[in-house]
């Protein structure tokens, strides 16, 4: 039998997207070298200390206060951003006003600014004798060197994340949907609550996640406006830095692991929420 001796060459399924092997290789390499290795090092370092000391470090009153401040302020800042970022994105997409392009460009400024610069700028404005601070101080509102100042700094840093993720989502809301709702008898607010918000929600959550993640890790802009008072305005990254200054690498790593764990759990939760929401929305177009 001739045909059986000639094994037909296995036809490879031709792929329109070339270079799967090479791109996956790069992906794995970069993930390992840049993300996973340093994280493992962190875990190893923290694992080097005995358990009782580890627990002592991460549950010290000072550490607990810093977690509350770091995650509390970050959540608050991300929430503020979600509300106002949505408003900004809405007006940028839906309305045409003079200077729209200019405003659109300004949104990205916090991305580009060195964080220390924005920290110093905010301190200048909100300090007791600053442009805004001098009017707030007499009313008993102290912004700089309090948790309020920290939240303001984190809000500034996270704002572009929300605006930039929500913008395309708003642009995609079909006017027809609003028109349809209106002919069915719905008022403006009803349409906003029942049609627009649910449609934009997945993007809004993504923006919130990004802004939150960024805020948790922020260091540069915060330390200038925080004042760094013990137990009061110390954020966790600062506490880690202080451990490092005392050459207590293991202690720093321990705090780092705690941050990592809390962040991971929160981001995972938000992501799962999003997947659920997307499934409801996007079941095959």
């Amino acid at each position: 039998m001739k045909s059986s001796s000639q094994k037909p060459a296995r036809q490879r399924e031709p792929n329109v997207l070339p270079g799967f092997g090479i791109t996956l290789g790069f992906t794995t390499f970069f993930l390992c070298a840049i993300v996973l290795l340093p994280l493992s090092a962190l875990l190893l370092k923290a694992g080097g200390m005995d358990l009782s000391r580890f627990i002592a470090v991460i549950t010290s009153p000072r550490a607990l206060a810093s977690y509350r401040l770091s995650f509390g302020a970050s959540l608050l800042a991300a929430t503020v951003n979600m509300v106002f970022g949505f408003a900004i994105a809405w007006s940028l997409v839906r309305y045409d006003f003079p200077g729209r392009k200019f405003v659109d460009a300004i949104i990205d400024m916090p991305f580009a600014l060195p964080t220390a610069v924005s920290g110093i700028a905010l301190t200048t404005v909100f300090a007791g004798n600053g442009w805004i601070g001098q009017y707030l101080e007499p009313h008993g509102i102290q912004v700089a060197y309090t948790w309020i100042g920290i939240t303001v700094a984190l809000t500034l840093i996270g704002m572009p994340f929300v605006v930039r993720t929500v913008q395309p989502a708003i642009a995609e809301v079909q006017r027809d949907l609003e028109d349809a709702a209106e002919t069915l008898g719905a008022g403006r607010f009803y349409v906003f609550r029942r049609i627009i918000v649910p449609t934009v929600l997945p993007a809004l959550l993504t923006g919130f996640t990004l802004a939150f993640a960024r805020a948790v890790g922020e260091y540069g802009s915060v330390i200038f406006i925080a004042g760094n008072k013990q137990m009061k305005t110390e954020i966790t990254p600062l506490l880690i830095f202080m451990h490092l200054e005392e050459f207590d690498y293991a202690g720093a790593a321990a705090l780092g692991v705690v941050m990592l764990a809390i962040s991971f759990v929160m981001l995972l939760a938000i992501n799962l929420l999003q997947v659920w929401g997307r499934k409801r929305l996007m079941v095959s177009r």
Binding site: D176, L177, D179, A180, T183, L184, G185, I195, V283, S284
Partner: protein
């Protein structure tokens, strides 16, 4: 009347997208707005729904003036081309949306939803999300949703646009059935004439923001009044024929056709005839034709389309070929023909076969503008005139042709003129116009160089005897340009003493005649003073203005109105000439 639109106008950046549209839709009627994209039909539908404001006019639903009522209080149901379903809500929530807004009780909501789902044949799909449904099912949900709050009017904006042929057919039947069952007044917008025929009780055809014709589908197909409707509703061959006292001739052959209204007061003139592809008879020889012979032809292309056979036939008789519109030159003149299978079996044809063509039924369009004739002293100048942007755009929009004609020296016995003569504006224009009118031309278009397409057309006539003709020509012109029509009534200083009642009545009569007889919506203005001065003042008041001038006395063109025909500042002037009543020959007057 269930829906009444009165002179509705909507402008975008000064350009009217809906231009003076008046429609009345009866209770329970299925009205289809048909037009090509950009004709303003969707804008008009949105205006009825209240989603788009209008600049002028009135909209009433069931006798209630809703011109300034918000969409949500109008009680209409609207269905969109892309379904516009709320993707984050289930089918049930989508349908109940309007009921929730109205705070209806849960039990009632559910009952109504079940009822609607049954109506659109989607029972049991309540808990699905729109994304889990096919396109046809989604559109059914959209229809059910639009009907939930029991609207008095159902509006459908190209509802089948995104669906494939089979589903389209099915949904079309469902919508027709639902509409009949509920007896709800419905307006559907489409660009698909087949869809319009399948659904409509009444069709309104729109083009360039104007409503051209309204009528029963069959009447519009058999007896269109305009070139656009003739060619947009089904295929049509347009021919230039001549209508005289002895009947209608195509080329040299007389043909049977119902004579159009005698707009030309008995003079022999050119008319546009519609020959539907299925009304052409083919036979091997002229003697075998059962209908009127029109020409010989050769089969150039045959296409099989199932039930019908489509043929393209080149006309072999030069003079006839030259009279066929819609192709560039006589050499390219082709007649579209369709035959049924029995007809095909009787006379099988192959490419190149020579055959005799007969016309079973010709319909003469009542349009007064048949074709254009560019007249200039030399052929070269005539060619230049034919390339004038306004003339080019008019002839292409009217799907007609511009013939060149050199008129060297205004000799006494020229060959007869056909169609609207066009001449260049200037010092000599007045005497040329006078000469043309004397030798049989009925309409003359005087064109200044590079005149833009008009945005406003003033209409004036000097003698009530030419009112009808002037209005007919104006209406024909305005169907093809997006311009506003203004009738300019002028009261001379002396006549003013006798009171204003008479000229005012004249004005209103003119307006109502324009609307009822010619379907032309026009504004009216009354000016007091000397005629030419007042016309000039109005023409100078804006840019891109044009004048249609009806006269009954040839000398007037050369004398009184001479200044209007000058090159500077120069407006396009369309002169409509009909001899005054005294000159109509006795047998026509009878």
């Amino acid at each position: 009347m269930s829906i009444a639109l009165d002179q509705v106008t909507k402008r975008y950046q000064e350009q009217p997208v809906v231009n003076d549209v008046s429609i009345e839709v009866g209770e329970g009627e299925f009205f289809v707005l048909l037009g090509p994209s950009g004709s303003g039909k969707s804008t008009l539908l949105r205006a009825i729904a209240g989603l788009t404001g209008i600049d002028h006019g009135r909209i009433s639903l069931h006798g209630r003036d809703v011109t300034h009522v918000r969409a949500r209080d109008r009680g209409v149901g609207l269905v969109f081309q892309n379904y516009a379903l709320f993707r984050h809500m289930t089918v049930a929530d989508n349908i109940e949306f309007a009921l929730r807004v109205r705070r209806m009780k849960r039990a009632d909501r559910v009952a109504r939803r079940k009822e609607l789902l049954k109506l659109v044949a989607l029972e049991g799909l309540d808990e699905r999300l729109p994304g889990q449904l096919s396109g046809g099912q989604q559109q059914r949900v959209a229809v059910a949703r639009a009907l939930a709050h029991k609207p008095q009017v159902l509006l459908l904006d190209e509802p089948f646009g995104a669906l494939d042929a089979k589903i389209r057919e099915e949904l079309r039947r469902t919508i027709r059935a639902v509409q009949r069952e509920l007896g709800i007044t419905t307006v559907l917008v489409t660009h698909d004439q087949e869809e319009a025929f399948a659904l409509a009780d009444t069709i309104g055809v729109m083009n360039h923001g104007r409503l051209l014709e309204v009528g029963h589908p069959h009447d519009l197909y058999a007896q269109p009044a305009t070139r656009f409707v003739a060619t947009f509703l089904g295929a049509a061959n347009l021919l230039l024929a001549r209508q005289g006292a002895e009947g209608i001739r195509f080329g040299a052959t007389p043909v049977n056709a119902e004579a159009s209204a005698r707009l030309h007061a008995g003079r022999e003139h050119e008319v546009v005839a519609v020959l539907r592809p299925e009304e052409v008879e083919l036979a091997a020889t002229r003697e075998q034709l059962s209908s009127n012979y029109i020409a010989r032809g050769a089969v150039e292309d045959i296409a099989f389309t199932g039930a019908l056979e489509r043929l393209r036939i080149r006309l072999l008789d030069e003079p006839c070929a030259a009279q066929l519109l819609g192709s560039g030159s006589a050499a390219e003149a082709r007649l579209e023909v369709t035959r049924t299978q029995p007809e095909r079996r009787e006379l099988p044809l192959r490419l190149g076969a020579q055959i005799a063509l007969g016309a079973r039924r010709l319909h003469i369009l009542p349009t007064p503008i048949s074709s254009f004739l560019a007249c200039a002293p030399t052929e070269a100048e005539a060619e230049e005139l034919a390339r004038e942007p306004l003339l080019e755009s008019l002839s292409s929009r009217m799907k007609t042709r511009v013939t060149l004609r050199a008129i060297d020296g205004l000799d006494e016995a020229p060959a007869p003129f056909a169609g609207v003569a066009a001449v260049a504006a200037g010092d000599k224009a007045a005497s040329t116009v006078e000469w043309l009118l004397k030798h049989g031309a009925a309409e003359v278009l005087v064109l200044p160089r590079q005149a833009p397409s008009p945005s406003r057309v003033y209409i004036h006539w000097t003698d009530e005897a030419v009112r009808r003709a002037t209005l007919a020509v104006s209406a024909s012109l305005l169907r093809h340009v997006a311009a506003e029509a203004v009738y300019l009534g002028i009261v001379t200083e002396g006549a003013q003493a006798t009171g204003r009642a008479a000229p005012m009545r004249k004005l209103l009569d003119a307006r109502s005649e324009a609307q009822s007889v010619h379907g032309l919506e026009m504004r009216t203005e009354l000016a007091i003073g000397e005629t030419v001065t007042e016309i000039t003042r109005n023409l100078s008041a804006g840019t891109a203005q044009m004048l249609v001038l009806g006269i009954s006395d040839i000398e007037q063109a050369g004398t009184a109105y001479r200044s209007l025909l000058a090159a500077q500042p120069g407006w396009p002037v369309l002169i409509v000439y009909r001899p005054g009543e005294s000159r109509i020959s006795p047998e026509i007057a009878a």
